[in-house]
Point group: C2
Chain length 350, copies 2
DNA sequence: TATATTTGCTTAATCGATTAAGCAAATATA
DNA sequence: TATATTTGCTTAATCGATTAAGCAAATATA
């Protein structure tokens, strides 16, 4: 009984008017009398009517759904971006569908198929680590559906992009470490094929050269940037005959693994080896010692991604093009790289 | 040109057959000749045809979408449950739509509206901290849409539920702490109105009584269980004239806050005060000292929730009823509560 | 008073895919 | 050879909501 779904037709039958009139009354059409509007709304409420989204979306050719693809949901950066996207889009009548690729190329392809299948009006995505082939993204473009990339993007796709200045961020870190008196700085970076990690590597190399420090091949290592791989790569650096005195890791997760290895080997941080991560994940402020890192402005990135989408759907004549929005990131100096203030202020008894 | 969406009709026109035949050919209907099937599939591929999900879902009265509501996405427990749900459902032809309530009652209501609006075939949810009124969940039930709750559930709703044995988990913790020689054990618990937290509190009280330890009102504190509130409540315990010698916190996040306060006050863990959390969030193994906690079997919970849904849709005559599936949780003893082995094995040089 | 405009609806088509019903040709069976 | 069955499609209706087109009554304007 209450199980049966209520349709516009049910309301129309009760009021003895056409479904067209009911539909218009629900949408406040000016050509429907106030009397009818009120009657319709009253009955709709009584029957607990909820419009069938599938039917209206099919007819209107617009689903008011936006797909979001992130590599992982358990990173604070991505969940913060999502929250911010959702805020902006909800306020504009859109709902979001979240999918995650789990850093897998195959999963990313199936995510895109799912989202296209669900007839989303747009897709906001950050690419998986594994992704190099871009044909699945081209598919989105070819369907004329707005596509916006953030953080993990790709120049070749020629779509809107929002991210931070990775190249400059590397300079911030290297210059900070040099100011701490460090002279042999290693970099555990991401895969070069991913643009952001490539930029961080280029920034690292250029900053090292600019400051006339040695650019040593054994100091630059590519990594998948998981905790485990961070451990492995740190161990690899410790095995060098000429160890680094500072390590810049391109992800907080890998930096955490590196931190564990340093502690297990009783290496003083930051005096023997200083450590800097990337991303400002909440745990960086929780571990001992607290970890210096880069703040990526996740909320701002999400906000801009959503606004870019809204801009694209509202002006369909606007051609999709590579409109890069690059935010300046900020270095957060904590205990793992701070030689100037050696004591933890919270523990200071003075 | 390539922008226009391809429909069954386009394929039908090219092959000079009816759309009905095309539709059947795509679905492998036995009454369509192999010749036609192959021709249809060939053209569909050439045109890059993708079925319009809105149209088929509308016609079939089934969207093959399942809504998931979680309080937060940045907790490892929830993202692990989601991953597990997704695995099982994808294998059975369903896609999931993830929404998060951000622990807000209002947001949870709007999540449900969104999901019903999207015509999901079922909803798998874990309730927000704030939620006490259940009418929005009743709305799901009244529409005859399968509803499954996990972790944060509610007896009154009389729907399927998957969770762990919170009551017994408290016993595990208290008995472990007593075995460590602790005699004055405090509990920073969640809100009693949330069933799981109420069960943990009941378990705590009963285990204390069973072991003839003092049940002191000042040792039992309700909390929102955030990091910040964990800090506040730990400080409150430290301010007592008669401090506890162990603290059981109903969430890893709040336990982390408590840990910070203990360290800032130079209190030896676990000898002065032992600490146990709840949830086995990854960071519990990363902090110093590592945090004892309860493993909630997130993957198993997700798997069972998904299977319960599949069971419910496949047998529509099956009445929704409170079929509780309670898993036994496991205590993970780490440095924060382990007095027997005082040294960190990784640092041991013997 | 005669015409023009506005108001408040209805009718019918539509968005794409699916499916019950049915028909003609091909094949099988008696 | 006559009838029954199977094969391979087509026709037409349907899922609900929306919207262009249009019509009659009410109201405004000349």
């Amino acid at each position: 009984m209450s199980n049966k779904k209520i349709t516009l037709k049910d309301i129309a039958t009760i009021l003895n008017i056409s479904t067209a009139a009911v539909s218009k009354a629900m949408h406040g059409d000016s050509r429907i009398s106030d009397k009818t509007k009120q009657a319709v709304k009253k009955v709709a409420k009584e029957l607990n009517y909820q419009p069938n989204h599938l039917a209206s979306a099919l007819r209107k050719g617009k689903s008011n759904l936006v797909g979001v693809i992130v590599p992982r949901t358990n990173s604070n950066f991505f969940s913060s971006v999502i929250q911010s996207i959702e805020e902006v889009l909800n306020a504009n009548g859109y709902q979001i569908i979240i999918t995650h690729s789990n850093e897998s190329y195959k999963k990313e392809c199936s995510n895109i198929d799912t989202l296209l299948f669900t007839q989303v009006d747009g897709i906001i995505a950050s690419m998986a680590n594994e992704t190099t082939d871009l044909s699945h993204y081209e598919k989105i473009k070819s369907k004329g559906i707005p596509l916006i990339l953030f953080d993990r993007g790709e120049n070749d796709l020629n779509v809107d992009y929002i991210g931070i200045n990775d190249y400059d961020s590397s300079h911030l870190i290297i210059e900070h470490l040099i100011a701490q008196g460090k002279k042999r700085i290693a970099h555990i970076g991401g895969y070069r094929r991913t643009r952001i990690f490539n930029n961080r590597i280029r920034g690292y190399i250029d900053a090292i050269k600019k400051n006339n420090l040695p650019t040593d091949d054994e100091l630059l290592i590519e990594s998948s940037l998981t905790i485990e791989d961070g451990r492995d790569k740190m161990q690899q650096l410790l095995n060098l005959s000429n160890r680094p005195d500072a390590v810049y890791v391109a992800s907080d997760y890998a930096a955490l693994g590196a931190l564990q290895v340093l502690q297990e080997n009783n290496i003083a941080i930051p005096s023997d080896i200083a450590l800097v991560g990337f991303g400002n994940e909440p745990f960086t402020a929780m571990v001992t010692p607290t970890l210096s890192t880069i703040n990526q402005h996740s909320a701002e990135i999400g906000k801009r991604a959503a606004e870019t989408f809204l801009n694209l759907v509202d002006t369909p004549d606007l051609k999709q093009s590579l409109n890069k929005q690059i935010l300046e990131a900020a270095l957060i100096v904590r205990d793992s790289s701070n030689l100037v203030v050696q004591f933890d202020s919270a523990q200071c008894k003075c």
